[in-house]
Point group: C2
Chain length 164, copies 2
Amino acid sequence: MEAHAKPDPPAAQLERRLYAEIPLTRHIGVRVGAYDRATLTLKAPLAANSNHKGTAFGGSLFSLAVLAGWGLLVLKLAARGLEAEIVIQDSEVDYVAPVHGDFSARATLPDGDEFDRFVRTLERRGRARVQVSVVVSHDGREAVRFKGNFAAVRPQEPSRVAIG
Amino acid sequence: MEAHAKPDPPAAQLERRLYAEIPLTRHIGVRVGAYDRATLTLKAPLAANSNHKGTAFGGSLFSLAVLAGWGLLVLKLAARGLEAEIVIQDSEVDYVAPVHGDFSARATLPDGDEFDRFVRTLERRGRARVQVSVVVSHDGREAVRFKGNFAAVRPQEPSRVAIG
């Protein structure tokens, strides 16, 4: 209870938003980690996400990946002062190694030109689509590769596309 | 507390196994529904799985789909007296419509010949791979299409393949 607490950084705001708006994220134990110009890292503990083999459940690994991609877009659009609903449209995921401990998902924006095109399209047409890559790792080793296409729709736009 | 209760059917056993071995399934609220010769249906409530838009979270939809595919293979192999570890290797998922209520995931085996080949390979080589399709629906309408490749490895086999 600090009387003069600094405003929360965007990553802390994202964590609170996840817990408030997507209750399952509390049970997965999602924590927001590093956020920089082009990447966002989320973390989760193995204990809450273990499966029949004592490794991380594939649904939890996917969930952390899709949240990392979604969260990165939320933060990047907010940083440009753009409000938009962001939803996953489709994705491909490869489980390249089992995960024997706590894990993290690092989402990376597409290269600068592609992300700028996405933002310009969103500004001009009120909706746009972009691909985000996410790598889930455990102990520094790559375990899951995720690619997701996300759609962004500005709130004032009539929803002419079925999102999905 | 019936003194002469009938043995649990395989679907009820699967539900208990999910809760015991994959704790997140309790928070998703997974229920095992219909199981027949070639399909398995799992169900989940919207309330536990809602997102920032009040629709079902993409990670929950994926989780129910992968559990339906996995569970169907577990039940079908058990019915043939085959013990094997089954894990997801890769998948593609399309979110074709938002989910505004409770939802179900119906996994379907590949056609008879392909499934028989998978079983024969598993018996002969101790490991095999098979694709399972899952459709997630809400209120009778298709919302998510999932295809997953699963690997099965018999326990006596040395794990010569990195699963994933």
